[in-house]
């Protein structure tokens, strides 16, 4: 095969850390890849590998592609805010799919298009990407999704004061997000705050662009960030919603019921 010439969608290559996991030997499944988008302050490793998703999907015969978002996992943490904006990340994702020579969806050809699974911030990105790329995205699974963006309400000045001198953060959601961000070793907290700044300029407005393909929403019953998942489900014409008993935003991600539901849904 000769070298192909890649076009950069936004003119600048993001150098995102992308990993491909082939379907397990002896399994059969659709050839189209499943792209996994992790949540804020997480990474492909934490959100998907350690939680058992790569094993579950590849054992189900799926080829899996993970991407670390900018400032997360093995991806670089640029200084400029634009690198972290949701629109820019969606463009980077499109770039990645074009580079992989994914062809637009065609009926009866299981090597065309992609499936998406996103968790939390990754679910927001998957919602928007599916809405804007209907010719590429076949089905979407959204984990821990909400109609409101907790990152858009993040109290950035309070977080910066806390990091500078330890001043207490009044807003519990801001305090919890920052706690999670700082718990993960290797997290670049300043890159994460830059991402929040970028997200505040483009908050999630799910009604602006609605995915028309089948969407499965899955959330823990005790997930406070996903209490508005039914609103999202109502917006999308082909959405189903599944609740995971007793699970929270932090621990729904390993749920076997979640994985099984996602695998079955993507096989449909």
């Amino acid at each position: 095969m000769g070298r192909h010439r890649d076009q950069t969608v936004e003119g600048v290559d993001p150098h995102l850390n992308v990993r491909v996991h082939e379907a397990a030997p002896g399994t059969t499944g659709p050839h189209r890849p499943v792209i996994l988008l992790h949540g804020f302050a997480s990474s492909a490793k934490l959100n998907w590998e350690d939680a058992g998703w790569i094993t579950a999907l590849t054992q189900a015969g799926r080829r899996v592609v993970t991407v670390d978002l900018p400032g997360h996992g093995g991806s670089p943490a640029p200084e400029e805010m634009d690198a972290y904006s949701p629109s820019r990340i969606r463009a980077d994702l499109l770039q990645l799919i074009l580079n992989a020579h994914v062809r637009p969806l065609k009926d009866d050809d299981d090597s065309t298009g992609v499936d998406l699974i996103g968790y939390s911030l990754g679910a927001r990105l998957a919602w928007e990407f599916g809405a804007t790329q209907p010719e590429l995205v076949r089905r979407i699974v959204l984990g821990g999704p909400g109609a409101h963006d907790p990152l858009a309400d993040f109290d950035l000045p309070a977080a910066q004061r806390y990091l500078a001198d330890g001043s207490e953060i009044a807003d519990p959601s801001t305090a919890e997000l920052l706690r999670m961000a700082q718990l993960v070793p290797g997290n670049d907290v300043f890159a994460l705050l830059t991402m929040i700044e970028a997200i505040k300029t483009e908050p999630f407005i799910p009604s602006e662009a609605v995915p028309r393909m089948p969407v499965l929403l899955v959330a823990g019953e005790r997930d406070e960030l996903a209490q508005t998942a039914p609103e999202l489900a109502k917006l999308a014409p082909r959405a189903e919603l599944q609740w995971l008993p007793a699970r929270t935003h932090a621990n729904a991600v390993t749920s076997r019921a979640f994985k099984t539901a996602a695998i079955d849904f993507l096989a449909g």
Binding site: R5, D6, T8, D13, P14, H15, L16, N17, V18, R19, V20, H21, E22, S42, L46, E49, D50, A51, G52, I54, T55, A56, D92, Q95, L96, N99, L183, V184, P185, A246, A250, N251, V253, T254, S255, R256
Partner: protein, 109 residues
């Protein structure tokens, strides 16, 4: 037949304990190495632990919600005598088959 016990492995980064979320195997079940065993949650994240051993599950420790400390018993397997001398270790994660970086060769444009 012999029994091999495995403790809750070191989950890294100074984590000393984990809460059992859900067992994915039952006592009496035959499992393969790397088969998902149990979901646990630490203060950092939730993880699924793969089986370090092929064998029949004799005993699991901890109901959902119970806290297990690193090094405390997690699971006991029954294995044929000739394999019992081999001390199991927690498998490392499988290396990805391929690593791709999106790199534009600007010289070509």
């Amino acid at each position: 037949m012999a029994e091999i016990s495995f403790p809750l492995p070191d989950l890294g980064e100074g984590l000393i304990e984990a809460t059992v979320l859900e067992w994915l195997v039952a006592e009496g079940e035959q499992v393969e190495r790397n088969h998902p065993l149990v979901e646990v949650e630490t203060t950092k994240s939730a993880v699924e632990l793969p089986s370090p051993q092929a064998g029949k599950v004799v005993r699991v420790y901890g109901e959902p919600g119970d806290i297990i400390k690193v090094g405390e018993p997690l699971i006991v397997f029954q294995v044929p005598d000739d394999t019992a001398g081999i001390v199991g270790t927690v498998p490392q994660e499988q290396a990805p088959k391929r690593r791709v970086r999106l790199t534009a060769n600007l010289d070509e444009d």
